[in-house]
């Protein structure tokens, strides 16, 4: 009963955000966030951008506990 009432009240469809407005945000911030993830999760593991072990050692516990392959 409650369900049929819900369907007939019909949620006014939400207008999706158009791809054109979303794309620049997604491209720029998507890449930025992936770079952050890379440094938190994988830098100085299999590959290194910065030489040494500093980044790896600093976020070491976070990597293990977040489930990233660490070493």
């Amino acid at each position: 009963m409650a369900q049929s009432a819900a369907t007939t009240t019909a949620v006014p469809a939400i207008t999706p955000i158009s791809l054109r407005t979303l794309a620049p945000w997604a491209a720029f911030f998507g890449i930025l966030m992936l770079v952050l993830l890379y440094f938190a999760g994988a830098e100085q593991g299999a590959i290194s951008v910065i030489a040494g072990e500093g980044v790896h050692e600093w976020v070491h516990d976070g990597r293990h506990l977040l489930g990233f392959p660490c070493h």
Binding site: V11, A26, G45
Partner: protein, 258 residues
């Protein structure tokens, strides 16, 4: 107008990710750190290059500042990405309001980004894992993350296509079954690694892996709830989004339904 709401949602996503990261940090510190310590003690008792002689970062710093950095940065980054996914999904995956969409996005993220890769390549504590295979293990782990996300997108598209013919419920089942099937095939064909030493305690390994799951579940549950709340407040109370602009139908009764 739309552009403003993308920016506002992105900011809220990153803040919700930070809050969720803080929650996950509490779980990680109290639940996970003791197991990391125990594993490192075993590692030191044996041999190994790590933890020997000069320490670059002390254990105390690793377990506090370092852990916080890793988890909070992770929280902010995945929060931002999830907010962007939310912007795309809102109004496109069915008649779900902001809160329900946020919960679905968070649940899908936990499943695809963590649970699916975890079942094939589970998290390893220190002292487990051969440094010689780190390259392959890292590549395969991220491959499985990407594969799982792409398959989930495909499953949603499939579900939406089938919905008019099968109805929402059955179409969702069909989409999900397809996802499970293909992931199962991927599991069967991708190489496995078993690098757990013979004398590594099974209980410690199990508890460590369970902790990592608890951390991720906390993070995504926290994100879904906080971001859902923030997005609802932003988008619903006639705050100038076109969706609510198309009449006063967004009554309290209707909002309560979501």
């Amino acid at each position: 107008m739309n552009s403003i709401s993308v920016r506002a949602l992105l900011v809220r996503g990153m803040l919700a990710g930070l809050a969720a990261g803080a929650l996950a940090l509490v779980v990680a510190y109290f639940l996970g750190e003791s197991q990391v310590d125990a594993a490192i003690a075993l590692e030191a008792a044996h041999h190994h290059d790590h933890g020997g002689g000069e320490e670059l970062v002390s254990r105390t710093m690793q377990a506090t500042g370092g852990l916080a950095t890793g988890i909070l940065v992770f929280g902010v980054a995945v929060g931002g990405i999830a907010a962007l996914v939310f912007c795309y999904a809102l109004g496109r995956i069915g008649a779900f309001g902001p809160r329900a969409t946020a919960a679905l996005v968070a649940g899908a993220a936990l499943l695809t980004v963590y649970v699916v890769p975890f079942l094939k390549y589970p998290a390893n504590p220190p002292a487990v894992g051969d440094p010689g295979t780190i390259g392959r293990r890292t590549a395969l782990f991220f491959l499985l993350v990407v594969l799982s996300v792409l398959l989930a997108v495909a499953a949603v598209i499939l579900g939406r296509r089938l919905a008019p013919r099968l109805g929402n419920w059955n179409a969702s089942i069909a989409g999900f079954a397809g996802f499970v099937l293909v992931i199962g095939v991927a599991y069967a064909f991708l190489p496995s690694f078993n690098e757990v030493g013979k004398d590594f305690p099974a209980t410690l390994l199990w508890q460590f892996r369970l902790s990592t799951l608890a951390i991720q579940a906390t993070l995504w549950a926290g994100f879904g709830l906080v971001f859902g709340y923030l997005a609802e407040r932003l988008l619903e109370p006639g705050a100038g989004r076109p969706a609510t602009g198309n009449s006063g139908v967004t009554s309290p009764a209707e909002r309560a339904m979501r």
